[in-house]
Symmetry: C2
Subunit: 352 residues, 2 copies
């Protein structure tokens, strides 16, 4: 196969289409977008010429002239972990159906996250921000420039926010565990590390009273969970139930328990949060959240605010579901069957 396209063909412009169709560029512009008054015959000719030349309008030129990008962005820390990928997917699906392209920005541990966000802001008509990826100051600054929707993050004045119910669900979880008879709890995760963790801890701690203090983990992944749990279990008088801020931590705790020769749930009950696929196979009691809806809602709101920025800031908390599996103890009859069913937009079924 010979090397091809050493120099790529220069893109076709509206002028060439106009010449070929024997009309002015304005007419081409009109004919190609169906919202304007053009003779059927003219439109046909223009369309034909455009097709012949394989013409597609230059996006930058269009954006510059129209003063809009027809694109929005979504900022997140990572895509692995708590099924954030699903949020992005839900977001993309709606955004695409609304005719806007999607730019992504993963902040990970990037030092210049704030700059990157500001830069992104010049390429889009609106921005969705997932979690505590950048400071409130950046959010406020960007929100002064274009519409912003916060996802799974503490609200910022004047900015839309969609979240999942952490506090309330944590309370439900606490109730469930108490009905199991547990009284000594530990919460695995650092409330200061992520807004979600903070909410989950707050709700749980409030529900069980003083009986629970947080055991900060050095991260939110499996290794962190295993390490923190190992430490905890080594100390005297371990808790009866270990409530983890997310499934990865919980799965790590499961491993630590196994390594310590403890039976789950016999010696120790463990719960997670997120309903990862792995949680099902580990029989982990956890909380399922409508991740896809989270993204979809953000995309929809963003679109609305782009076309009309005037309404007051909106806030919504999406419902979550407690999924009771075997890791929290013998399955009591009191569990409402509805609680065991999957969240609205999940294709998963409860396993245990």
């Amino acid at each position: 196969m010979a090397v091809k396209a050493l120099t790529r063909a220069r893109p076709v412009t509206i002028y060439q289409v106009a010449e070929r169709a024997g009309v002015s560029i304005a007419t081409v512009s009109r004919a190609l977008r169906d919202d304007t008054p053009v003779t059927d015959e003219t439109r046909r000719r223009v369309r034909q010429a455009a097709a012949d030349l394989d013409f597609t309008p230059s996006r930058p030129a269009r954006s510059l002239a129209e003063g809009r990008h027809a694109a929005t962005g979504i900022v997140f820390a990572d895509l692995v972990g708590p099924s954030y990928a699903e949020v992005v997917l839900g977001y993309e699906a709606v955004a695409a159906s609304l005719g806007s392209s999607v730019l992504i920005l993963a902040t990970r541990d990037r030092a210049d996250a704030a700059d990157a966000v500001r830069d992104l802001a010049r390429r889009v008509d609106g921005l969705a921000v997932l979690g505590r990826t950048v400071g409130d100051d950046v959010i406020t600054a960007v929100a002064a420039t274009l519409p912003v929707v916060l996802i799974a993050r503490d609200p910022v004045p004047g900015v839309d926010t969609v979240r999942t119910g952490n506090v309330r669900t944590a309370r439900a979880l606490a109730g469930h565990l108490r009905r199991h008879g547990y009284r000594r709890f530990a919460f695995l995760g650092d409330p200061d590390g992520a807004p979600d963790v903070a909410g989950r801890y707050a709700g749980f701690a409030a529900a069980v009273g003083d009986g629970c203090s947080p055991v900060p983990s050095p991260g939110l992944d499996l290794e962190a969970g295993e390490r923190a749990a190992r430490e905890l279990l080594r100390r005297g008088r371990p808790p009866q139930a270990l409530v983890c801020a997310n499934d990865e931590l919980a799965l790590g705790a499961l491993r630590a328990a196994e390594a310590a020769g403890l039976d789950v749930p016999g010696d120790l009950a463990v719960t997670g949060w997120d309903d990862l696929l792995a949680a099902r196979f580990a029989g982990l009691t956890t909380v399922a959240q409508p991740m896809r809806s989270l993204g979809a809602t953000a995309a929809r709101w963003l679109n609305q605010r782009i076309s009309d920025p005037s309404p007051a800031a909106r806030r919504r908390v999406l419902p979550t579901r407690l999924l009771v599996r075997r890791s929290c103890g013998a399955h009591p009859a009191e569990v409402d069957p509805a609680l065991a069913s999957p969240p609205p937009d999940s294709h998963r079924r409860c396993l245990t």
Copy 2:
């Protein structure tokens, strides 16, 4: 909180910066990009003015003038499933470090995928396409316009391609299973459905000879695997080892086996592909692939080809690793320890 920003401030332009700094717009343009000859003093003044006004250049205007987008796109079918999210993440990380923004496009089951791709092509300087999301005709057409890199997909003439080794690894897997003593195999998955599946089946079938025919599943998810496996196990004389095209199918098969009262690996060996987190907890023997590297490589190649399109098309096959766990049978001593270690860019450890 009062409603704010009913009408957002118009963005600052280069003219305002020029006026404030007492120079021409050309000088501002130069001073803001450090690659041009400008007096230190002038540069300082311009920078100051820009900072005062919180000026950031308009992307569309810049793109129009420069004739480039400083952005690339990545097209994929979905983000869930075989950790495609990791590919995207690897891609984004490299692209960002190379100074280009990232646009995403999820084709899912979208009917107008081809149009969407063509549309995306007008917003980027290069495109990465993951899997069989659009037809070869679209790839060829787009590749004539801008650089394209294919990921985990059969090569198209003249287009770069990065893949993971399916055929060779399938052979290794077959060898391992044969050493276990298995002789009757079944392959779960539809080779005609996805390029990866095709390669995996081809390699496996070639290695075990006629002893293996594919059992097409109606999809690649857990439910499809469970259903297909249930059917298979119901028929007389089930296989000794069930090799699944991916982990989700395998996990479904595990459930079907359990439901049928079969012991894994006692009555039936099961293997997967992808090394999902859940595979670890299910003790599933599987194949780990350097997903992140896949994306990273694509981003790097794209960048190179954008700056210099002349080199001949490149093809690379990234190595995979067989992860032997308990689902394939009693752990023989013959397993090379190296085979059990994680792929280069994975943070995961082998569990079993």
